[in-house]
Each structure stands twice: as structure tokens, then as C-alpha cells.
């Protein structure tokens, strides 16, 4: 046991988890912003916007995340010239954030749309009837209620995002799954304990998120 702990102490496990959490933090914010815009496009009174929103979701949601991450690293950066930093590691981190955001935005959009479906049509009609244009009606009346009705599915997307940050390994971001592979390669006699340790780390991160989501979805529910 003490031997195993000594093995663990040779690696910066918390540092690696910190990268996963950083990826989660930025990707959560950006995917929520993009997802909100997409959801508004999908309910907009302009048919071309609805079409664009639907196309985005259909395309991105049905593409494997790994492929989107690889696309960011092999196409977005070298071919399309999107570069965030001269430093390789920082550049790859942000490319991974872009890929995670773009991918999860489609799920955030659909989660939010399920929240919009909890808002009765009459709310939108009442908003329009007092003279609010579409964007104001969305911002002041529909979205505040939609977000509160979408806490649970948005939370599920967040939980998926936490775990999907390990796919950033495909962009060579030194997050925890890359560290795990390195640990396994160098410590063949501790394969199972290393695996369990890394898995437990994710459980420790995700369980509070799940509890918070359950609490908030009840706390914030709109009474009708």
C-alpha cells in the first residue's frame, strides 16, 4: 500500500485533474453561450435561422467528439490557421476547449430546448401581446423560465462534459487520462489500483455536481 502511495506521489495527479477542470470550466461557459444562441435560432420566427440551428445540431451532435477534437488540431489550426498561442501546450488547450464547446453546444441547445418546451405557449403570446419583440420576449420571459426548467438536462450535459474532457488527450493536452496512461506504462504491477484511483477522482468530481443539479432543479422550478 505504501509502495503504491509512493508511486502516486511521483505524479502530479491533482495538476492533471486541474486541467480537466479548467477544460470543463471554459467549455461549459462557451458551450452554454453557443447552445443558448442555437436554441434561440431553433425557435426564431425566421425559417433560415431555424434551419441553420437545426443543421448545426444534427451535424455536430452526430459526429464523435474524438473526431471533432482531431479536426481542431489537424484542420482548424494547421489548415485554417486558427491559433491561440505561440506556445504549443496553450494552443492545444484552447483548441481542445473549442472542440469541446462546439460539440457540447449542440447538447446544451437540446437541453435548453427541452426547457423551452416546459414554458407554455401562452407565456410567449402574452409577451408578444404587450409589444415585446422576439429577442426581448426570449430574454425576459421565455429563457428565464426555460433555464429553470432545463436545470436537470443542462446538468446532465455538464456531467458528460466533465468526463468528455479526457478526449482532449487526442489533442495532446496533458490531462488526467494521458497521465493515467503514462502511470500504467511505467507501473505495470499497479494497473488496477491506478485505474481505480483515476476513476475515483472523477466520481468525486461528478457526485457533487449531480447533487447540486438535483437540488437546483427542485429549488428553481417555476410554479405554475
Amino acid at each position: 500500500m505504501s509502495d503504491f502511495l509512493e508511486v502516486l506521489s511521483n505524479y502530479d495527479i491533482l495538476g492533471a485533474y486541474w486541467i480537466n477542470l479548467s477544460l470543463t470550466f471554459f467549455a461549459a461557459i462557451f458551450s452554454l453561450i453557443i447552445g443558448t444562441i442555437l436554441a434561440m435560432m431553433r425557435i426564431a420566427p425566421v425559417s433560415s435561422l431555424r434551419f441553420a440551428g437545426t443543421t448545426y445540431v444534427t451535424l455536430v451532435r452526430n459526429t464523435p467528439l474524438t473526431i471533432i477534437v482531431v479536426f481542431a488540431v489537424l484542420v482548424l489550426w494547421p489548415v485554417l490557421g486558427v491559433q491561440f498561442s505561440e506556445t504549443f501546450s496553450i494552443n492545444f488547450f484552447w483548441l481542445a476547449v473549442v472542440a469541446l464547446s462546439v460539440y457540447h453546444a449542440s447538447f446544451m441547445c437540446e437541453a435548453l430546448r427541452s426547457g423551452i418546451n416546459t414554458v407554455p405557449l401562452g407565456q410567449a403570446e402574452a409577451a408578444r401581446a404587450i409589444g415585446l419583440p422576439f429577442l426581448s420576449a426570449a430574454r425576459l420571459v421565455i429563457l428565464p423560465q426555460a433555464f429553470r426548467g432545463a436545470v436537470a438536462p443542462l446538468g446532465n450535459t455538464l456531467i458528460a462534459l466533465v468526463k468528455n474532457t479526457t478526449v482532449a488527450a487526442a489533442a495532446s493536452v496533458p490531462e488526467v487520462s494521458i497521465l493515467m496512461k503514462e502511470m500504467l506504462d511505467q507501473n505495470g504491477n499497479y494497473v488496477l489500483p491506478i485505474f481505480l484511483t483515476i476513476a475515483a477522482g472523477f466520481v468525486i468530481i461528478v457526485i457533487p455536481v449531480g447533487l447540486a443539479v438535483t437540488y437546483l432543479s427542485q429549488r428553481l422550478a417555476v410554479s405554475r
Binding site: 407565456q123 402574452a126 408578444r128 404587450i130 409589444g131 415585446l132 419583440p133 426581448s136 410554479s223 405554475r224
Partner: protein
């Protein structure tokens, strides 16, 4: 179709009516609307004058709610024209939003903004649409809530109020925009019976103050008491249009006689 000849009711053939002093405010001409195969509004002509209270009655599915909702374009129409104060209803967009601000609407299901307090429900339009200062909007709103008798509920959420109270708040919300006309789409149909009168009382008071109103309702008592004119719709057509006494005592069409026979015998 014995009474199809009277479907083309216009401002000119308000037969037997006291000539209304106000100028035309809401004018529908040749309005048609389909829901798929169903022809819900068939060549509707209707003029509502300033200060007039028009009550629209008819069996369910006759198109009366659709008519009401078409006036502020919550239901777009297929053809024909609707003008408000001489101005044609614009397409979806900013101009339509401006025009809607001048048309109050009270719904069957109240539709108060569920996440906002009673006070915020009333001030939202004045602040966000009319760009009124929050303080002035609050004073206006409290005055209106006082008038409809729910000022003491101002800080509660809609779900904490009874149906009758919610509907009175909805009327205050419509009034806060100082509209030229208020549309009532079956305002008492979702209420428990004991709450109907508190809402009708507010509406009668409004009518007496000279508010222009289009009221879709099944409340015949209200129609008799407050209406300047009763419009009877059936199968997407305006079948009769007359002052309440004439309509209720001497309906001319078979469909109106049939309808009144069904509702008044109980």
C-alpha cells in the same frame, strides 16, 4: 344556408344600432383564415368603433377566438385586411411589436409571467416597451392593481393567486400599456364559478369608462349589461350583428336561435 346572406356585415349595415359616435378603430375586411382544411374565418367584415364594446359569441369552433387573436396577429390571416386606427397590421417584426403595444390582450388562461411577481408582470411592458422609468411604471402599476383590487398581492408570484385575482392582474397588465383597444379571449372560461363576477365587474367598469373592447365570451349577462353590439359567429362566419336587446330578444337567424335556445334554457 339561409343566413349566409348576412355574413358580409360591415360598418354600414349595423342595422338597428344606435349610430356610434366614435370613428372606426379596428377594421377587418374580407378576412379569411384556414387551419389546414378547416376554413375558420370566412370572409369576415367587422368594424369596431372607438369606445365601442363588441361582444363576440357563438358555439365552440365557430372561429370567435381566432377572430380575436387575428386582431393583434397572434394568428396570421390568409387574406383580407385588418387595420388598427387606420394602420394595416404589419408583418412580423418591430413594427408589429409596436402595434401590439397598442392592443391589450387578456387570455383565457391568464398567461401571467410565471417567474415574475404581480407587480413585475404589470411593469414589464411599460418599462421594456414604453421605456418608462421604473419608478413611474411602479406607480402606474400600483394604481392599476389598486383599481382591480389586488394591490395587496403585488409582491406575490402568479401561482400564489386565485384564478380570479390572476385574471384581474392580467387586465391591469393590459391597461398598463394604455392600449387603444383591449381584446378579451374568453376571460372567464377558465375560472371557478365564484370568481367569474369579480372579473366581469372589472370589465363592466372598463366598458363604462369608454374603453374600446372586443370580448369573446359565453357570459350572456355581461353581453346584455355591457355590450354596445353583439356579434354572433357560427362556422367561421359572422351570422348576426346587433345591439344586445335586439339580438337576445329577436334573433333573426336559425343558427342564433338554435344557439340561444341551447344556452338560455338552463
Amino acid at each position: 344556408m339561409a343566413d349566409s346572406s348576412v355574413t358580409g356585415v360591415t360598418a354600414d349595415d349595423d342595422r338597428g344600432m344606435p349610430a356610434h359616435s366614435g370613428e372606426p378603430l379596428v377594421v377587418l375586411e374580407g378576412v379569411n383564415k384556414h387551419f389546414g382544411e378547416l376554413h375558420v374565418l370566412q370572409d369576415i367584415n367587422l368594424t369596431v368603433h372607438r369606445g365601442e364594446v363588441v361582444v363576440v359569441i357563438g358555439p365552440s369552433g365557430s372561429g370567435k377566438s381566432t377572430l380575436c387573436r387575428a386582431i393583434n396577429r397572434l394568428e396570421p390571416i390568409d387574406d383580407g385586411s385588418i387595420t388598427l386606427d387606420g394602420q394595416a397590421l404589419p408583418e412580423e417584426g418591430k413594427a408589429l411589436a409596436r402595434l401590439r403595444a397598442d392592443v391589450g390582450m387578456v387570455f383565457q388562461s391568464f398567461n401571467l409571467f410565471a417567474h415574475k411577481t404581480i407587480l413585475e408582470n404589470v411593469t414589464l411592458g411599460p418599462i421594456k416597451v414604453k421605456k418608462m422609468k421604473p419608478k413611474a411604471a411602479k406607480e402606474l402599476a400600483m394604481g392599476l392593481l389598486e383599481r382591480v383590487g389586488v394591490a395587496n398581492q403585488a409582491d406575490k408570484l402568479p401561482a400564489q393567486l386565485s384564478g380570479g385575482q390572476q385574471q384581474r392582474v392580467a387586465i391591469a397588465r393590459a391597461l398598463a400599456m394604455q392600449p387603444k383597444v383591449i381584446l378579451f379571449d374568453e376571460p372567464t372560461s377558465a375560472l371557478d364559478p365564484e370568481m367569474v363576477n369579480e372579473v366581469l365587474d372589472v370589465m363592466v367598469a372598463l366598458a363604462k369608462e369608454g374603453m374600446t373592447m372586443v370580448v369573446v365570451t359565453h357570459e350572456m349577462g355581461f353581453a346584455r349589461k355591457a355590450a354596445d353590439r353583439v356579434v354572433f359567429m357560427s362556422d367561421g362566419q359572422i351570422v348576426e350583428s346587433a345591439d344586445p336587446d335586439t339580438f337576445f330578444d329577436h334573433p333573426t337567424s336559425n343558427r342564433a336561435k338554435d344557439f340561444l335556445g341551447k344556452i338560455l334554457t338552463h
